[in-house]
Symmetry: C2
Subunit: 395 residues, 2 copies
């Protein structure tokens, strides 16, 4: 048994972690654009990266050095440092060398970037910007703000996890999302800090398991970025660990941040849970659920608050999973609109379903009616604002 208590501080909440964010001139109008996370003792680190074949320079740098321990992560927004070749990696080496000169206590520093692809990193601005930081600052809010791109608000969370023994550990995290969000891999930047004494060999597994049902279950636009990273930093300062409690807390942290990312998807006005049950197995349920999050016709119907269940049915049929119209049931919120071959949809039903769709968050449940496979994916609507943001993104 254990209890989770929501606490303030984001990535700074666990003992020994510090963070800050500043403006160094990458974004216009003095917006914050450079952040760090620092731990006053060395952390074990594990990360999940994008499956995009063109991984960005920070990911290549991390892998090149097979980083296992670090106590400093530097993160910039506005520039992805992707498609920048060897030069991109050299830029990181120089920036991190400057960081080591500036701050004597940091070891094996790593970097992470997000923003426009294919533009050389403005290295000098970042090196100069490092001068203005102080390591022992606990401003998780500024850090979470500095890593934003088209996000409309910063995304952070933290819990204190109390075990039955009275001992406790803390876990905190920040993330950025908004665009280039697609399931089937870690799909944004997320940094998780903890003072739990998790054994090194359990970190990667628990991170992957949690990612499958959280970050890998969301989609904003079906595009998979070159920079996606989910990083877990454990300094073990609490000396406390409980496998079940930690797994639960980690999944909760990642789930809440994943929902925040979808709710703040570019131009999104609603967050919708696409729940599939009754598929022949969980894999097929996941395929159908993720197909629904990515269908443009479903996403625009959500935006129009139009209970066009035919588009939901068509998307399931097109997803390639085992399915049959005579066993399928479709329910918007608590309104069943199609039941095993029978169209229940009349004007009254349409009004009821349209009412469900006016909510900021609701579920669409499709029971395939063939087996026990289930999966829930989270998506958002697509409206004019998405087009506006993405037709103008670089300007």
């Amino acid at each position: 048994m254990f209890t989770l208590m929501s606490i303030d501080g984001g990535v700074c909440a666990p003992n020994g972690f510090f963070a800050d964010g500043k403006s160094v001139g990458l974004k216009p109008d003095n917006q914050k654009d450079l952040a760090f996370i620092y731990s006053d003792t060395l952390c074990s680190v594990k990360a999940i990266f994008t499956t995009n074949k063109f991984q960005a320079a920070p990911i290549l740098h991390f892998k090149k050095h097979s980083v296992q321990k670090t106590n400093f992560v530097l993160i910039n927004s506005k520039n992805a440092n992707a498609m920048t070749g060897e030069k991109g990696i050299e830029d990181i080496e120089q920036i991190l060398e400057s960081a080591c000169n500036r701050f004597k206590d940091i070891q094996n520093p790593v970097m992470s970037s997000t923003g426009v692809i294919g533009v050389p990193l403005p290295k000098e601005k970042i090196i100069k910007g490092l001068e203005s930081f102080e390591l022992e600052k606990k401003d998780g809010n500024s850090a979470a703000t500095a890593i934003m791109t088209t996000d409309s608000y910063e995304k952070q969370i933290a819990f204190e996890v109390k075990l039955e023994s009275g001992e406790s550990f803390k876990i905190g995290a920040m993330a950025k999302g908004a665009g280039m969000i697609n399931p089937a891999m870690a799909t944004m930047l997320c940094f998780i800090t903890t003072d739990a004494a998790i054994p090194d060999d359990e970190m990667e597994k628990v991170l992957k398991i949690s990612a499958e049902v959280t970050f890998n279950a969301i989609s904003v636009d079906g595009d998979t970025s070159t920079n996606d990273t989910v990083m877990l930093l454990a300094n073990k300062k609490s000396g406390v660990y409980d496998k079940e409690a930690f797994s639960h807390a980690l999944e909760r942290v990642m789930h809440e941040l994943a929902l925040k990312i979808v709710s703040d998807g570019e131009g999104a006005t609603k967050c919708v849970a696409f729940k599939i049950t009754g598929a022949v197995n969980d894999e097929e349920a996941a395929i159908a659920a993720k197909a629904l999050t990515n269908s443009l016709l479903v996403k625009t119907a959500l935006y129009g608050e139009d209970p066009n269940w035919g588009r939901v049915a068509s998307t399931i049929g097109a997803s390639g999973i085992t399915c049959d119209p005579s066993t399928l049931t479709i329910t918007f919120g608590d309104v069943t609109v199609y039941n095993k071959g029978e169209i229940l949809f009349d004007e009254e039903m349409e009004n009821k379903a349209a009412k469900v769709m006016k909510k900021d968050a609701f579920s669409i449940h499709c029971d395939i009616g063939l087996g026990n496979g289930s999966f829930t994916a989270y998506g958002c609507d697509l409206g004019y604002e998405y087009v506006k943001i993405n037709a103008d993104y670089r300007t």
Copy 2:
């Protein structure tokens, strides 16, 4: 050797074919919504249908009767007769029985539908509407108009194919597109008529080969409809056939209609050819080309006329094909913006590339630089109008 001459008449152009379209009250404001194609002699017929698991009633009806010969195709718009179960098929049987009573000359009639999914077919309106038709009408334009949904203009084409011997045959076609258009299967309604004396056993193969590089190479929104159908009707009246000439003419007809569908994609302002060369094989080239047509970030950048080549690179990397940044070259029109690891993109280059993107039609060429595989897919931009059309489609 053979020559193609563009002629008028659409599906009515080949000898012995007739067609018309009328308003029977399915669409508002007396818009045309019911069409037929008739041949005064029996035709061999072959069709390619959607891979969507929830195939619509007209497709199930066609397959149920294993139709090999027909001389009458009835097509309605506004209602897809999809997800309508056994009732949907019974409705078709009754409608076609009425057609046989009305017109004594028709044999094995078939039906095709397009429009909203999950609404029972207004059978009575269609049966009543049949009364107003005359079989021996040659109005391909009205037929092509009556099968439209959100298309902004009717799509038809016809050629006379002259062989070196002086003999000739004709081929005509009409299609509807606009939404739920996705590669990897026949993705819209298209009816092709010919008086060429093509042997029955060659019809299906030539239709499939042509579909791969035409209709299966286009995308408007990545959604695969329940009703997609490409149908070839051959009454063989000319007595003339030449395999090479016919294959060429059929592919030309399907290619031109495919481009019309993309150019008239819902809300589209541009038609873009995504040409992939240098992939390890043609299959991987097709995967990358089709991924580009479906990337929301690429589509919105096209709409914004923003030469954001990083999104093109990222989409190729995310598509899963074999690729490497150091062998990739990206060219917008005739402007190379990225060359094998070298970012060529400066302000002058950006202005040149932006100028290319102002055109109604242009190409984006990605040379993967690894092999001889190639494929060209055709896509369009995604702007505000797409959202408008699809958020409001049923109302």
